[in-house]
């Protein structure tokens, strides 16, 4: 109960603060960053469905961002549709394409799935580039921000719009995860084979989950198009897709908060790097943390030497780099890679996974208990005397695994009561 209260309280507080920001600060730069944060938030929550819950390395999210952006952009600039319809169309388009990609790709696992999604991204970039009659090719596409039910949206109005979308996605996602679907996802990640054996259709859930995540990417894409009002195919490439994936991992998989923190990092990182003082302070903090945790781990012999030393070395390189390199912008990718390396090795649960564990220790919250089993009476149909309703009837059941016959010619009936 206490846990629930704290989490809901924190969520409410964050949204209230984020919604209130434009009232206090009129700086368009800050507002632009926060809008981007909301858009990336939606995008990464969608990505987390496949990365966190399905446990697959998905490299196609940038492609769905691009497809959504172009769907909305073309609809608005050519056919002058409204805001809501464009968003809906982008969502539906990516839902469909996501399902189409998932049908062949999700039969694969691990590296092969990653390769398939990566090729999909590359194929999308090529198509967006070359289908000039539709997308205007490499010259880019100008998109006007459409009015929302007759109201023109200013920067502030659009920001609130994005925040409302983020909140809706957040709420919706939490409800989905608490439902039968969420439990199926959870089971899938741990063992697809066991899930299949329990009678949950593995493949169906996987495809649905992947398509839903992709559709959220499409929605984010539509907002992205209206935010920048200019699209070009070069944006949605390998580098972006990897950054998005790594953002989810850095923030923490299987957590809405993790996706949000990851989005914040991806959106704010370029600005963080341009401010040298901030960068040096943060990397020094990271180094001290890694050194402290590493030495403690080594002393207690709980962590492997590599796991303790590697984060120290990589954060050390960050600190040293901060002094040696004059222009940190050029080294953006390398810096991001070093940060990620230390997080992935040192904190496999991601920043939020680590924070959640630390916070629950701080507030002395017991881990979430397993749900109570439902009482039999509520699951089984009510018993009635003398009724002969057949609940289950089997005739000539056969099941074999390769050459091994487990059951052959079983017939039985189960009566109610």
């Amino acid at each position: 109960m206490k846990r629930l209260l704290l989490i809901r309280g924190a969520e409410l507080l964050m949204f209230v603060v984020l919604l209130a920001v434009p009232l206090g600060i009129a700086n368009p730069y800050v507002l632009g960053l926060l809008t981007l944060l909301a858009i990336y938030g939606i995008l990464l929550i969608g990505l987390d469905v496949s990365v966190g819950y399905l446990g697959q390395v998905n490299l196609a999210q940038a492609a769905f961002l691009g497809l959504g952006a172009y769907t909305a952009g073309i609809l608005v600039s050519r056919y002058h549709v409204g805001f809501a319809i464009a968003c809906l169309a982008a969502f539906a388009m990516c839902l469909l394409l996501g399902a189409l990609l998932a049908l062949p790709a999700l039969r694969l696992e691990g590296p092969r799935f990653a390769l398939a999604t990566l090729s999909f991204t590359a194929l999308c970039t090529t198509s967006l580039n070359e289908m000039e009659w539709l997308t205007n090719g490499a010259q880019g596409l100008n998109v006007m921000r459409p009015p929302f039910f007759g109201q023109a949206l200013g920067a502030r109005g659009f920001y609130w719009m994005c925040m409302v979308f983020l909140a809706a996605v957040w709420l919706g996602m939490r409800n989905v995860l608490d439902s039968q679907w969420g439990r199926a996802f959870e089971a899938l990640r741990d063992s697809p084979i066991a899930t299949d054996a329990m009678g949950v259709g593995t493949f169906r859930y996987k495809v649905a989950g992947f398509a839903f995540g992709s559709a959220l990417g499409g929605l984010a894409g539509a907002l992205y198009a209206f935010n920048f009002q200019y699209l070009e195919p070069g944006t949605y490439v390998y580098a972006l897709t990897v950054f998005l994936l790594l953002g989810v991992v850095l923030g923490g998989r299987k957590s809405l908060w993790g996706a949000f923190v990851g989005a914040a990092l991806v959106a704010l990182l370029p600005n963080l790097l341009s401010n040298k003082g901030l960068f040096t302070t943060l990397s020094a903090l990271g180094f001290l943390l890694a050194a402290f945790a590493g030495v403690r781990g080594l002393m207690s012999k709980r962590t492997k030497p590599f796991q303790a030393i590697a984060p120290i070395v990589s954060t050390g390189m960050l600190v040293a780099g901060g002094f040696l390199v004059s222009n940190t912008e050029d080294w953006r990718t390398a810096i991001f890679a070093l940060m990620l390396f230390s997080v992935v090795v040192g904190l496999p649960q991601g920043l939020m996974g680590f924070a959640a564990a630390a916070l629950s220790k701080l507030f002395r919250i017991p881990p979430q208990p397993l749900p109570e089993p439902s009482p039999l009476e509520s699951v089984l149909p009510a018993r009635r005397e003398g009724s002969n309703t057949v609940l289950l009837e089997l005739r000539d059941l056969k099941r074999h695994f390769g050459g091994v016959k487990a059951v052959d010619g079983l017939s039985m009936k189960v009566l109610a009561g």
């Binding site: 062949p104 694969l108 398939a116 090729s119």
Partner: protein, 292 residues
């Protein structure tokens, strides 16, 4: 399109295709021993090519340059294995996918900052004046790609079959646990496979650079096609990657002639998605039965 142009496109495409095959072969080497592959392989190709270019600028003899380049590739492969792969393999997770991507990004950015963002020509003593063979023009540089790729793949295969170390390699590939019980160190064998994979990547860079020039974009361009080749051919068959690589290279050069150069990448990617849909283990791959 007339026959002569078609044949010309196919031959030069297929020779470039052998480079994709070589990089894909590098994936196979590590996949065989550890069921993992290096997603930063493209960056290894690029960094090794840049390193070799620096040595050429120092006016060292070409043979020595190639040798040093290959050693450098092996060192990078070992580094990848130690920092990116070993921990994930010990934990039996698929974390190596992310780790190798991260390391690849790091190497890519490092190379950009050390050697610059521009494409640079890669001088070689092999001439690029075309020779006329059977109605098709082939340059000695292109031929050197074909010969180099086939020679090195042949050498590795002979190494695997004839030497004690190679047999250990095969044993770990066939059954890791049984191999370890026979006293073969799996960790060392995996290290060996990553070093070999690094050598192969470096060689691919050295062979292809005179044709494509060296630059930060070469990593992603080459490696995407190598992925396609590896997946379409299956991650087990060395013979398969050669065939598929040559086929893909030819298809690609015909497609870019017919549809425009922007569509160059498309056939490989379509082929990949089709192959995955029809035969997920690849054309030459073996279906795996998983024990629960």
């Amino acid at each position: 399109m007339n026959g002569a142009i078609f044949a010309q496109l196919c031959v030069s495409g297929a020779l470039i295709g052998l480079v994709y095959a070589l990089i894909a072969y590098g994936f196979q080497l590590t996949y065989a021993t550890s069921k993992s592959l290096n997603f930063g392989q493209g960056q290894l190709v690029m960094v090794s090519a840049f390193f070799t270019l620096t040595l050429i600028d120092l006016h060292l003899p070409y043979g020595l340059v190639v040798l040093l380049g290959l050693l450098f590739g092996a060192a990078l492969g070992l580094f990848m294995e130690r920092t990116g792969v070993r921990l994930a393999l010990e934990q039996k997770s698929e974390g190596w996918i992310l780790m190798t991507i991260i390391l690849g990004l790091f190497f890519g950015s490092l190379a950009e900052n050390i050697w610059g963002r521009d494409d640079r020509p890669f001088p070689t003593p092999i001439s690029s004046n075309p020779i006329h063979v059977l109605g098709v023009d082939v340059t000695p540089v292109e031929l050197s790609v074909g010969v180099g790729v086939l020679a090195v793949m042949g050498l590795v295969e002979i190494f695997k079959r004839q030497t004690l170390l190679g047999k250990a390699f095969e044993a770990i590939s066939a059954d890791r646990d049984a191999g370890e019980l026979m006293g073969i160190s799996a960790t060392r064998t995996i290290m060996l496979s990553y070093a070999l994979s690094g050598v192969v990547a470096a060689l691919a860079g050295i062979l292809v650079s005179p044709i494509t020039t060296v630059g930060p974009t070469m990593a992603s361009a080459l490696v995407l096609k190598a992925y396609s080749v590896a997946v379409v051919a299956g991650l087990e068959s060395g013979f398969g990657v050669v065939l598929v690589g040559m086929f893909l290279g030819a298809l690609e050069s015909v497609a870019s002639f017919e549809l425009g150069s922007g569509w160059r990448e498309a056939p490989g990617l379509v082929l990949l998605i089709l192959a995955l849909a029809v035969r997920p283990t690849g054309i030459f791959g073996k279906a795996m039965i998983r024990k629960v």
